[in-house]
Symmetry: C2
Subunit: 238 residues, 2 copies
Amino acid sequence: MSVPSQRFVRNTLLGALDLRDYEAVRAVAEPVSLARRDVLIAAGQPITHVHFLESGVVSEVTATPGGRRIEVNLTGREGFVGVPLLLDVDRTPYESFVQIEGEALRVEGVAFLRLIQAHDALRRCLSLYAYVAHLQTADTAISNGNHTLEERLARWLLMCHDRVPGDALPVTHAFLSTMLGVRRPGVTTAIHSLEGAGGIRARRSQVEVLDREKLKAAAGGSYGMPEREYRRLIGVAP
Amino acid sequence: MSVPSQRFVRNTLLGALDLRDYEAVRAVAEPVSLARRDVLIAAGQPITHVHFLESGVVSEVTATPGGRRIEVNLTGREGFVGVPLLLDVDRTPYESFVQIEGEALRVEGVAFLRLIQAHDALRRCLSLYAYVAHLQTADTAISNGNHTLEERLARWLLMCHDRVPGDALPVTHAFLSTMLGVRRPGVTTAIHSLEGAGGIRARRSQVEVLDREKLKAAAGGSYGMPEREYRRLIGVAP
DNA sequence: GCCGATCTGTACTGAGTCGTACAATCGCGA
DNA sequence: TCGCGATTGTACGACTCAGTACAGATCGGC
């Protein structure tokens, strides 16, 4: 059997491991492809697998009493889906679903628990990510409380852009309004404004990022802190 | 030397440990009292100690560009302050300060790392709390995005009431407005509304909780989820 | 008992977003 | 090529909350 080479891994967390830990993960990991709308973790159901994303984007959302959803976290190839298992928790009230299709290495739950028990460096690395994910959620709380729709939209586009190859984000206004927990026509207006400022170009079912610096300015300081912490703790960002 | 008895501990996490793990913590813990405004973790500075709260309330807040603060988390004797250390992170961009005075058992950082290395049950127990804290932050994000000022105030009062003995919460309108990230007169109005509904009674520098059920109704479903998870995972709530 | 600081109540205008409705446009499949 | 569903653009009134200002109430210290 061929030993997989570390350099072909796209997941940043796995790429940061030394070869021994990495190969222990690969030995029990199974490559899977993620189609849009696939549910990786269902609300309130036992978490069966941990997914190390190789490409694509996964959103963690909640359902509010009115059937509405709102996003609390975003994961790409810089992270993994299944943080609760790392913290010894078997299920969560939120749902994680595939927002942009991609690929992942998935590890079955019990095998994952054995892995982090046996490989302390792996546990520490994943813990760092769990912390950054927590920061990102906290930042979302602040953003929701203190920033305008346009600022929050700019922040979201930047975060999504970080996790996608190329500059075209396949999202509709309605989808964005759900993620941000706002009114759909409000997104349309905000997109026009960002487009007028030269930060993006809007197409049907697509937003193209033209100028990250302009988007950062439009985000009014709501973007960047978790990303800085990721670089500080784990290394090169995606 | 007298061996401290487990029944005298008020911190719920330490109370959930078996005697051996508990005494290992006590052997390196030092009782301290917490005065209002004490800073337990300074933004961007190394975390020197972990605090297991025995009484009182600690807020984790951020400073927004305009010098404003907003709360992302609340801890009482059901938890501990210093989650980043558990996750192998030495500092955090947020600040944790004492909001309501109380007492704590504090453990120096390096001793804490040795403890969780040696006592896996302790690590698992604290991990469960770290997860609940993450849930609470996520819930705050949702609350900030989807709920009215009055609902958010009701939620905050309930969370604070959970962590305080008795029904009198020593808070001013201005303080509440900071925690919620809203305008101070808005808090005054919302308090009147909650008072009119019979949920609370307002005094100068104090809010007395009269009827938790009415407060829960006023919170519009924004309260309760992290608390349920705490009970499910760790046991009796405070 | 008085004074100054703190806290609370109230008022006004404006910005931002909501909820809703409906028309225009686009793209895919028949 | 036509038609239909999905997506986007626009409008309008209503409501929440921001920002600000200021007066009254309350408390603690002298």
